[in-house]
Symmetry: C2
Subunit: 607 residues, 2 copies
Amino acid sequence: MCSKKASQYHKVETPPPQPFLKSLKNTLNEILFADDPFRKIRNEPKTSKKIELGLRHVFPILEWARGYNLGYLKSDVISGITIASLAIPQGISYAQLANLPPILGLYSSLVPPLVYAIMGSSRDLAVGTVAVASLLTGAMLGKEVNAVQNPNLYLHLAFTATFFAGLMQTCLGLLRLGFVVEILSHAAIVGFMGGAATVVCLQQLKGLLGLIHFTHSTDIVSVLRSIFSQSHMWKWESGVLGCCFLIFLLTTKYISKKRPKLFWISAMSPLVSVIFGSLFMYFLHDHFHGIPYEGIAVGRSFAMYKNYNIDGNKEMIAFGVMNILGSFSSCYLTTGPFSRSAVNYNAGCKTALSNVVMAVAVAVTLLFLTPLFFYTPLVVLSSIIITAMLGLVDYEAALHLWRLDKFDFFVCLSAYFGVVFGTIEIGLILSVGISVMRLVLFVGRPKIYVMGNIQNTEIYRNIEHYPQATTLSCLLILHIDGPIYFANSSYLRDRIGRWIDDEEEKLRTSGETSLQYILLDMSAVGNIDTSGISMLEELNKILGRRELKLVVANPGAEVMKKLSKSNFIESIGKERIYLTVAEAVAACNFMLHTAKPDSPVPEFNNV
Amino acid sequence: MCSKKASQYHKVETPPPQPFLKSLKNTLNEILFADDPFRKIRNEPKTSKKIELGLRHVFPILEWARGYNLGYLKSDVISGITIASLAIPQGISYAQLANLPPILGLYSSLVPPLVYAIMGSSRDLAVGTVAVASLLTGAMLGKEVNAVQNPNLYLHLAFTATFFAGLMQTCLGLLRLGFVVEILSHAAIVGFMGGAATVVCLQQLKGLLGLIHFTHSTDIVSVLRSIFSQSHMWKWESGVLGCCFLIFLLTTKYISKKRPKLFWISAMSPLVSVIFGSLFMYFLHDHFHGIPYEGIAVGRSFAMYKNYNIDGNKEMIAFGVMNILGSFSSCYLTTGPFSRSAVNYNAGCKTALSNVVMAVAVAVTLLFLTPLFFYTPLVVLSSIIITAMLGLVDYEAALHLWRLDKFDFFVCLSAYFGVVFGTIEIGLILSVGISVMRLVLFVGRPKIYVMGNIQNTEIYRNIEHYPQATTLSCLLILHIDGPIYFANSSYLRDRIGRWIDDEEEKLRTSGETSLQYILLDMSAVGNIDTSGISMLEELNKILGRRELKLVVANPGAEVMKKLSKSNFIESIGKERIYLTVAEAVAACNFMLHTAKPDSPVPEFNNV
C-alpha cells in the first residue's frame, strides 16, 4: 500500500448553502417534471412560436397532420380496418363482462378513438374497452345496483363512473401526478393481470357450459363449487360449439405468433367467429335450444396500467378527456388495450388516423350490421374472451422473475393468488403493499460490508465479492450501501458494532495487533436524516469508549451539507474526513507509524 | 488522464451463485436478528453453561444479583425512594387522565416494577404509568363505555386492554418484530409527543379553572371554545392556587435543570405539592368551595416509544410480561417513563432493585397514606401534569430539525398539528404516512449526477460538489445514487435521456466533438430488480439508436449477480464493464484514439 504525506490528501468540500426555496423548487421539479416536457417551448425565443409549440404539445394532430400523405392514408386505412375487426367482437364481449348492453361496447369504440386521434401522442395506440376494466366496472357497480332489476339506473351509474374516472385521470395528468402508478412494480402487474385473466376465464365457464345461474363471487373456490354443483345443467351443445371456436381462435393465434407477418389471421378470427356463429344460430336456433344467444354474462375484470406508465402525464390527460367526452356519448371506460395496439403496429399504422378509420368502421357496423348480433351465441363471446385472456397469463414472465429475482417472484405470486383465491381488491392491496414493503426494507436494512485492498492498486472493494482483496489488521473498512435514515439507524449502529466485535475476536484469536481505526466508506450513502446524524454522533461516542477512532471517506454533497450543519464534523475532527478510501487508509497508516494519533492535524491540498 | 493498455484492466467478478434457501436464511437473519442476541450462547461449547447463559439472558436478575453488595443497596434505596416520590403523585394524576380511579395509578407502580426487576435488562429504567398512554387509554375506552355511568365495566375493559397490550408486546418481542416501531422517525416522535403534550396541557385548563362540564374532543378548537363559552363558570380560587403550584413546580424544575446535582428538588416537589395541597384542603375545605378536590378529571394522552426503540425485542418481552401480570393485579398500562428513568439515573441507582424499593414505598403509601389523598385538590394534579408535559414540547429539537433537515421538520410539524388540530389517531397516521413516503421518495427519485475528473488523480466526483473537476467531451459519466427499482426505473430512463440531451446541446453550441460513450457509475446502486434490469436493456437499445455506447463501472455483488442472470451483460458486452470509473475512462480513451470502437475485446487482468 502506498503511503502519502499528510499534505497530499484531498479535501472533502462542503457545498455552498442553497436558499431553502430554491432547493425546494429543484426537488419538486425533479419529482414532478423529471422528463422536462416543456423543454422545447421554454427554449423558443419568439412568443408566437411558443404558442404554436404549446398547441402542438396539447394537440399532437397539428404535428402529424401537416406532413400527411396518400401513402400514410393507405397504411392507416388498412390498420384501422384490422383493429376494427378486433374491436367489434371484443367490444361486444367485454361489455357483457361489465353487465352492460353489448351495443355499448361498440359505442365505446366510436367517440373515444376520435378524441384520442386529436390529443394522443402515440401513433400505434388503439383505443377501446379492455377486459379487466370491464370486469371491475361490473364488480363495483354490481355492489350498488342490480343490473337486471334496474337496468336504467345501472346504465347511468356506469356513465357517471366513466365521467369521474376521466376527471381523475385528467387531474392526475394536469397535476403531473402520473408517477403514482409507478408504485405498482412490473412483478405485481404480471401477477395481478395473470390473476385477473384467470378469474375472467373461470367466469367464462358459465357461457361455455350454457349455465344460467352462477355465483357472483370471483374466487376460484366459489366458481368451481358453483360449476360442479350444477353438473346436471351442463349443455353439451354449448360445450361442443365453444370448444370448436376456442380451438379455431387458439390455432389462428398460434399461427400469427409463429409468423408475425400473418398477424391478420388472428386479428380477423374473432370477427369471423362472431359472424359465423351468428349465421349458424340464425338458421338453426330452432334446433339447438341448449345454446343461449341472448342475455347477460356475469363476470369481472381490471385496468391495463402498462400504457399509462409508458405514456406519462400527457397521455393521462388525453385518456381523461377521452373518457369524459365518452361518458357524454354512451360510452364506458376506455383505454389503450395492449394487444390491440400491437395489432395496430403490426398492421403498419402510420398515425393516430387509424383510430378514426376504426371509428368509421364501427359506425358502419352499428348502422347496418347490428341485427346480426342479436343471434350471436354467448359461447362465441366466451371463447373470444378466453383467447384474449390466456395471453395475459404470462407464465414465462413469472419464470423469468423466479430466475432473476426471488422477491419479485414472491410479489407476483402474492398478487396472483390474492386475486384468484380472494378478490381483485385483495390482490391489488397485496401487490401494492408488498411492493412498498420492498422499498422500505431496502432502506431499512442496507448492506454493510468489509472492504479490502485489491493488491498493487488503490482500489478497495467488498471482500466477499473480491475474495482476493486483502484487509489490514489495525483498520476496519466498512462500506454502507444505502442512505442513513431513521428506519435503519438503530440497525446500522448494531450491525457496525457486530462487525467490530467479529474483527476484534478474529484479531484476538490470531494474536495480531489490535484494531485502531474504523473507516466508514460513505460513497453509497445518498442521503442522511437527523436520526442518521444522531446515530453517527452516538457511534463516535461508543467507538471512543472502546478506544477506536472513527474515520470517514467520501461523503456525498447532500451528506456533507448536513454533517457540516450538525456538530458531527467538529466532534470527529475535520481531518478525519477523506476524499477516497485509499487516502484515508494512507493517512491512518501515516498516523500509526510516524506519529501519535492525536498529533497535529495534517494539512489539505487545495484540489 | 492516464491511459492504460487494455490488458491492465481489472475484471468485475460475478459472485458464485448461492442456494436459494441459504440466501433466504441470511436475509431473514439480517432482518430479524441484526443484533445477534444469542452470540454468547451459541459460542459456548458446554450445554450446562449454555442453559445457564440462556436463563441469565431471560432473567437478567441472575446476572446482577450475584455481585450485589451493601454499597449498591444504599444507592438503590435512595434512588428507589426518590422515584417513588415522583411515581405517587404522577400515578394519581395520570390515572385521572385515563378516567380511572386514582388508586389504580398507585397499584400500577406496585406489581409491574417487581416483574421488571426480574426480567428487565436496563438498570436505570423506572417503571410506571405515563401520561400519553393514560390519555390514549381514556380516549379509546371512552368510545366504548361511559366511565361515569358504568364504572365497573369500564374498569374491566381497562384491565382487558392492558392484558392484550401486554400479549401484543410479548408476541412482537418473541417474533423479533420489535423493529416495526422503527417506522416512526425521530422527527415524527418529536412532533407527535409535542402535540400530545399540548393536548394534555389544554385538557388541564379544566382543572385549573375549576370547570365541571368539558368537551370530550381533544382538538384545540373544541377545547378553547368549551373554555371561553363557560367564562362565567371560571373559579378564581382554583386558578390562583393552580398558578401558585405551577410556579413552584416550574421553579424547582428550572433549578434542577441548571444544577443537575439538585435533581432531588424537582423530584420531590410533586409529592410536596400533593401533601401540602391536601393538608390545605383538609383544614380549609369549608372556606374554599371553588376548589374541587374530588371526582374525575377528563383528558387524554400516549405511549413513550423512545425506550422500546433502545431496548429492542428483549425489553419488549419484559414489558409485555409486566403488563400481562399487571392486568391480573388491578394495574393498567405501564412502561418506562423517560423522565422518571432520568431521575433514577441521576439518583445514582445501581441495579433494577431501585424498582423494588419504589414498589415497597408505594405499598407503604397505599397502606397508611391513602386517606390523605381524599383531599388532594384537582388543581394540584393538573399542575403536576402540566409541568411534566411542558418538558415534552421539545421546541429546541424542532428548531434543530429545521436547521439540519427541512423535510424532517415538515414531518414533525405535520405530526404536531395533526394531533393538536385533529385527533391523536390523525397525528399518528400522518407521521407514519409521511415518514414512509420519505423512504419511498428516496428510492423513487434517486440522484443522478455528472462526474468529472479531479486533476492529476484517478478520482472522479460529482462536478456540482467539486466544481474544479473536469469533464471530457466525448464521454458522459453519470453516477446513480440509489438502487434501481420499479419505483424509479422510468424516472432514471427519462433523466438519463435528459442528461444526454443537455450534454449534446452543450457540445453542439460549443462545436466540440460529439458524444460517444455514456458511462454509468454503479458504485452506489445497492440493488436492482427485474424492472430495473429491463430499464437498463431498454436504455442500451435507445443509446444504440442514438449511436452512443453504454459502459458500466463498478456494479456491486448483488447487481452483478442479477445482471449476469439476465441478458444485459451479453447485450452490452462483458468488456464494457469495468471495476473503476478511471479504468473505464482509460479504456474508452484507448478505444477512441487507437482503435475503432468495435475492435477486438481487450483482455482482462486476472486480479
